[in-house]
């Protein structure tokens, strides 16, 4: 049965040379190290994408500015969007899944450790391939550079005639390769969750984060192959002269939009469901209450995933679909607000009457509730077809999805970093610095993204490299850009916090937050085999049961 190998050298062992330590990480198949590498690589890309966004904001600070050339601006928004979705969101969230799932279900590792390492390195290689386009994108034509077709790469912009050089090819291949990595990881998640749970861990006793990652993995397996297929078609168009998306030869540009958004909308939920998972773990612990409505949360999760597969054409209202299709997709989009609303109420219900401790993770979680609600409400506004006709492809949409993905996913990721950092590294992050990070980020995010709704309603289209003075856009763009330094300061403060705390942070111990899920039962950082002895569980809060044998949760199941 289970054999525990001899303890391996810790990476922090000072006797080991740097080369030896790096080699240890590079050849590792340990889910914890792979998870940390996923998150670290994702955060490096986060900084790169942030710099790209900063350049765009500098260009837009005043009308008729010339920080960037028009083509440079196009490359910036394409690389920013692509990087944030594929090289920041996915890997960071999959990284947390990698690190946490085996610990939370009481397993020693993922179901397929080698496949896991393979997935990580595919993602890293895909990211490098995409960024290599700055160098190699010129191709034989000496034109091009980075991709400049927008993150959804609408045809015919991507055809040979309009996308000279190899920029688009690097876009296709980089995303495809990192997509293969995500798909192998998704297979690994599902196999791990279904097959590797510790004794007593039934499906309905799993932490909600594990439920959400299971759902996300299924969405990845449905959505990403369709994108890969569409990208293969585009490659065939570009290299073998096929006509899938070639309107000159009766091909249809609308087909690309359908295939892309059939992937693209579930992708949004792939990016936000793990954030729901973080929040569902953090809010109960810091409210000192059991999560409110666990079975309903599971049901809402599965419904969101299911409905999210049937809403993709709400990205395409302006292409002129028949009214019945518009109505259908508007209705399904409204419908998805119902289970999402249930989740909101359940989180608030968990906080209600609890003894809330506003440590940094909880601050971020509360910030998430407010910001994500705002982004969700503007999303419902955009689901109204005539409203969307008016504001589609305006800055209102940019503001909307930044509230969902920054105010939602990124805030939740910050919450997760502060919550699980002590587990991964054995030391607490500095609490005062964490509070500063939170407030700087909240101010920055409001200053940058709230005015975008205004400039959008005033008629400013997205993806324009500049604008004429005198149309009322100046003030909103100026405020947006003023918010950028706040966000930069917040991220810098987090980096300083991490570096300082790794050296001299307070020692955390196995369970610094007095939490209830299994990852807090083992040492911080966990030994390479996770648990000396495979744990057992008798309820959804195994650690509560062990801490309170007089009143275990299992009495109420």
């Amino acid at each position: 049965m289970t054999t525990v190998p001899a303890p391996i050298h810790s990476t922090s062992d000072p006797r080991m040379g740097l080369g030896e330590r790096l080699h240890g990480w590079a050849v590792s198949v340990d889910h914890k190290r792979l998870g940390i590498m996923y998150i670290a690589a994702g955060l490096i890309f986060f900084v790169i994408a942030g710099l790209e966004a900063t350049l765009m904001r500098l260009q837009l600070i005043a009308p008729l500015n010339d920080v960037l050339t028009p083509q440079g601006f196009n490359q910036m928004f394409t690389m920013h969007g692509t990087t944030m979705v594929f090289l920041v969101g996915m890997p960071v969230l999959l990284g947390f899944g990698n690190y946490l799932i085996p610990l939370m279900i009481g397993a020693r590792d993922m179901a397929f450790p080698r496949l896991n390492a393979f997935g990580l390195w595919l993602f890293v290689f895909g990211g490098i391939l995409l960024y290599y386009s700055w160098i190699g994108g010129d191709g034989l034509y000496g034109l091009g550079g980075a991709p400049d077709t927008g993150w959804f790469a609408y045809s015919p912009l991507t055809s040979k005639a309009f996308s000279v050089g190899h920029a688009t090819d690097y876009w296709i291949l980089g995303i495809m390769v990192s997509g293969f990595g995500s798909m192998t990881t998704a297979i690994n998640f599902i196999a791990t969750i279904l097959c590797m749970r510790c004794p007593g861990m039934t499906m309905m006793r799993m932490p909600l984060f594990v439920w959400l990652m299971l759902t996300v993995a299924i969405l990845v397996l449905v959505a990403l192959p369709v994108l890969t297929g569409a990208q293969v078609m585009l490659l065939l168009d570009r290299f073998l002269g096929a006509h899938f998306f070639d309107p000159q030869q009766e091909g249809s540009v609308i087909l690309w939009q359908h295939l892309f958004w059939f992937f693209g909308h579930p992708e949004v939920y792939i990016l936000v469901l793990p954030a729901f998972g973080f929040i569902s773990e953090i809010i109960p612990v810091f409210s000192r209450k059991v999560i409110f409505g666990y079975p309903l949360m599971v049901a809402a999760t599965v419904s969101i995933a299911f409905i999210s597969l049937g809403v993709w054409a709400h990205h395409m209202f302006v292409i002129g679909m028949p009214p019945w299709l518009n109505s259908l997709f508007a209705a399904s989009t409204f419908l998805i607000a119902v289970p999402t609303g249930m989740k909101m109420f359940n989180w608030i219900g968990t906080m209600w009457g609890g003894r809330i401790r506003f440590d940094t993770p909880m601050l971020f979680a509360t910030g998430f509730l407010v910001m994500f609600l705002f982004g969700g409400l503007t999303g419902i506004m955009l689901a109204v077809v005539p409203f969307d006709w008016q504001l589609s492809d305006s800055y209102f949409v940019v503001g909307h999805f930044h509230y969902v993905l920054f105010g939602g996913t990124i805030l939740a990721v910050f919450a997760a970093i502060f919550y699980w950092f002590p587990k991964a590294f054995g030391r607490m992050l500095s609490e005062p610095m964490g509070q500063w990070t939170f407030w700087l980020l909240m101010i920055g995010l409001t200053l940058v993204f709230l005015p975008m709704h205004m400039s959008g309603i005033l008629g400013m289209p997205r993806r324009v490299y500049t604008y004429q003075p005198g149309r009322g856009f100046e003030i909103w763009n100026l405020i947006s850009t003023i918010g950028v330094p706040f966000q930069i300061a917040a991220v810098l403060l987090l980096v300083i916090n991490v570096v300082k705390s790794l050296k001299s942070g307070r020692v955390a111990g196995p369970d610094p937050w007095d939490a209830w899920t299994l990852e807090w039962e083992t040492a911080s950082p966990p030994p390479s085999e996770n648990f000396r002895k495979i744990p057992t569980c008798t309820s959804a809060r195994p650690l509560w049961d062990r801490k309170h044998p007089e009143d275990p949760d299992s009495n109420y199941e």
């Binding site: 289970t2 190998p5 590792d109 279904l194 449905v222 990403l224 192959p225 369709v226 297929g229 009766e250």
Partner: protein, 200 residues
């Protein structure tokens, strides 16, 4: 050291991770094919120039091909039965037959494509029919080739005496699942290309 996966196995009551992994892979691949089938259906009858399906596709050889591929699903089941009873000779025979049938399918596809390209002048860039036909049928054929490579590796390993029934039965069964999947995809591809696509 750290590059070795920790030895572990799932508790007895849990499903096998190999089976779950293979089902996930098959589900994922199905969605990949779904994209190409949707594209084929979307573009049926949209080509105003070049050859049309009914002008150039010949159903008879394709039916023979399909029969060979579908038969190979049964022979691989027979091979697994023999393997379970540790009858290695019969196992090798049925595996070899499976590979031959699958190989015949690929050969038949090759002959069909040669005729289409050389005699009918239909290539992937001729018109939308060519574009969707070669990509859909081609990706299926590619999956058949991958399946054949796996089956052939198993046959070679068994001839070298490296197959251990207790250890490897599950692994070979999983490969056979993949092979059945390739077969089922062909039924969908066949229906799309040769039945729906050729309707008057």
């Amino acid at each position: 050291m750290s590059s070795m996966p920790l030895a572990h196995s799932a508790p007895a009551s849990m499903p096998s991770r190999g089976k779950v992994g293979m089902i996930c892979l098959i589900g994922m691949e199905s969605w990949f094919f779904a994209g190409f089938i949707v594209a084929y259906l979307f573009y049926i009858g949209k080509s105003s120039t070049g050859p049309q399906p009914r002008d150039v596709l010949d159903l008879k050889p394709v039916l023979v091909n399909s029969a060979a591929l579908i038969a190979s699903s049964f022979t691989v089941v027979a091979a697994l039965r023999k393997l379970a009873r540790d009858e290695m000779g019969a196992f090798k025979f049925w595996m070899a037959l499976t590979i031959l049938l699958g190989g015949y399918f690929i050969y038949g596809t090759g002959v069909e494509w040669k005729g289409l390209i050389e005699d009918r002048h239909l290539t992937i860039s001729t018109n939308l029919f060519g574009t969707t036909f070669y990509s859909l049928v081609g990706f299926h054929a590619f999956h058949v080739v991958v399946g054949l490579l796996m089956l052939t590796s198993i046959l070679i390993l068994s001839m070298l005496g490296h197959i251990n029934v207790v250890r490897d039965h599950m692994r070979i069964e999983l490969v056979s699942w993949y092979w059945h999947f390739v077969d089922v995809v062909w039924i969908f591809v066949f229906t799309t290309v040769y039945i729906v696509g050729m309707r008057p």
